[in-house]
């Protein structure tokens, strides 16, 4: 009896860690982590998806390995250890993709080395995987990865639709093609240029806060926008203190 109860509780926690990355602790819109790839890569839906999936893979692998070795690492050298693990996985992904999925590598090649410096991965290693079991770290990695991928895809779609009037996946499958239907259609090119990234991200963040405050209002709570984000107790920024 007791065993099945603890198993059930474990399953509940696993589920909770899995879905928190989607909305409540979404890496892009709630933790506001990994802004460098977020702003640079999301010129189209396809780029966002590709970057998100590559990041998810590295995130899951590094979370698992760090959770396994978490008790062997002395806390003074944990950051270098994390970086070695993450950088190794990124290099492995880079090599494997180049060798066995060469076309995908051609499209994503420039983004892959960027994953090393993506603070989501180091952040999750520090804030979660180094303190939790392998199973929970796996759930966290999957959830955060999917949340990141969805966030990038959303941002990429918005910018591609506004900036090009199109939505293209897998190279040539057009989900939406305004220029083909409307003559002399002029897209907002600024949206795919760097300033567009800030504009789109700002609007989406504002929209997300609006939605959340509406939900809170309906439930009779007052909505407090997240101000003092501590990236879920990540201490990397305060490492020297």
């Amino acid at each position: 009896m007791a065993k099945s109860k603890s198993l059930k509780r474990e399953r509940m926690t696993f589920y909770k860690e899995l879905i928190k990355g989607l909305w409540k602790e979404n890496p892009i819109f709630r933790l506001v982590l990994g802004m460098c790839p977020t702003l640079a890569v999301t010129t189209s839906l396809e780029n966002g998806l590709g970057m998100g999936m590559a990041t998810t893979f590295v995130l899951i692998c590094s979370n698992i390995v760090i959770a396994i070795i978490r008790n062997m690492i002395p806390s003074k050298v944990r950051i270098p250890c994390f970086i070695v693990v993450i950088a190794s996985f990124v290099t492995i992904v880079d090599l494997l993709m180049n060798g066995f999925a060469h076309q995908l590598h051609g499209q994503l090649g420039i983004f892959i080395p960027l994953i090393v410096v993506n603070c989501i991965i180091l952040g999750r290693a520090e804030a979660f995987a180094s303190k939790n079991s392998v199973l929970m770290s796996l759930a966290d990695g999957i959830g955060m990865g999917i949340g990141f991928t969805l966030g990038l895809a959303l941002l990429g779609s918005c910018r591609e639709i506004l900036g090009e009037g199109m939505l293209t996946v897998w190279g040539d499958l057009k989900l939406l093609d305004i220029p083909a239907r409307v003559e002399n259609y002029q897209a907002l090119v600024v949206m795919i240029l760097p300033p567009g990234a800030f504009i789109a991200l700002g609007c989406l963040l504002a929209l997300m806060n609006k939605v959340e405050s509406a939900i809170a209002h309906r439930q009779g709570r007052t909505f407090v926008p997240p101000q003092n984000l501590d990236c879920r107790h990540c201490t990397i920024c305060k490492f020297g203190d």
Partner: protein, 193 residues
């Protein structure tokens, strides 16, 4: 002292394991990567030349200009010369270097061009990759310099991206010039009949 020793040991152990894993993966992927990269070159050559039956990437001649080595891929069909492909680069684009494969036929015309690498503005200059722009180069005679229409040439530049369009034209023209100047050397060195 003991603590320092432990730190050093753990870090060293992790790095050694990571290094071993990387070495293993590198060994596994060297051959597939080489094959895939060769296939890339072959695909690009195929995209810019008429049908051929040799291996142009093993039938090359090199022309050295200054420090730069230009590689010319010579294609043949039943031992008869059908065309040459070569890559040209331009640093005059709007967003850094662009690299283009150009194919010329035996009857002294451009067969096609193919963009190998470009970092132009998405939505504007990046349209040089679109067939609509590239196909305007097909059939251009080698005897006249390729220019955009604004400069009195035959290529209609992309709206809002004249700089990128000009850069492509200039790079292609320069490559063709080099080819025409060295045509005898390029073709002779390859036993083309």
């Amino acid at each position: 002292m003991k603590e320092v020793l432990k730190l050093v040991l753990v870090l060293t152990a992790i790095c050694v394991i990571a290094g071993l894993c990387l070495a293993l993966v590198d060994k596994l992927t060297t051959e597939p990567i080489r094959k895939a990269e060769r296939q890339d070159t072959l695909d690009a050559i195929k995209a810019v030349l008429p049908e051929y039956d040799n291996e142009p990437d093993r039938n090359i001649s090199e022309i050295v200009v200054g420090k730069q080595t230009n590689v010319f891929y010579v294609a043949t069909m039943r031992q008869a010369y059908v065309g040459t492909a070569f890559a040209v680069t331009s640093k005059e684009g709007y967003g850094g270097e662009m690299k283009i494969m150009v194919g010329v036929t035996a009857d002294d015309g451009v067969h096609a061009i193919h963009v190998l690498k470009q970092t132009e503005t998405p939505g504007l200059g990046a349209k040089i990759e679109k067939p609509k722009f590239k196909e305007k180069f097909s059939g251009a005679p080698l005897s006249t310099t390729i220019k955009v229409k604004k400069d009195g040439g035959r290529i209609e530049s992309i709206t809002g991206a004249t700089i990128s369009s000009r850069a492509v034209c200039k790079a292609v023209s320069e490559g063709i010039d080099l080819f025409v100047k060295n045509k005898d050397a390029i073709l002779k060195s390859d036993n083309v009949q």
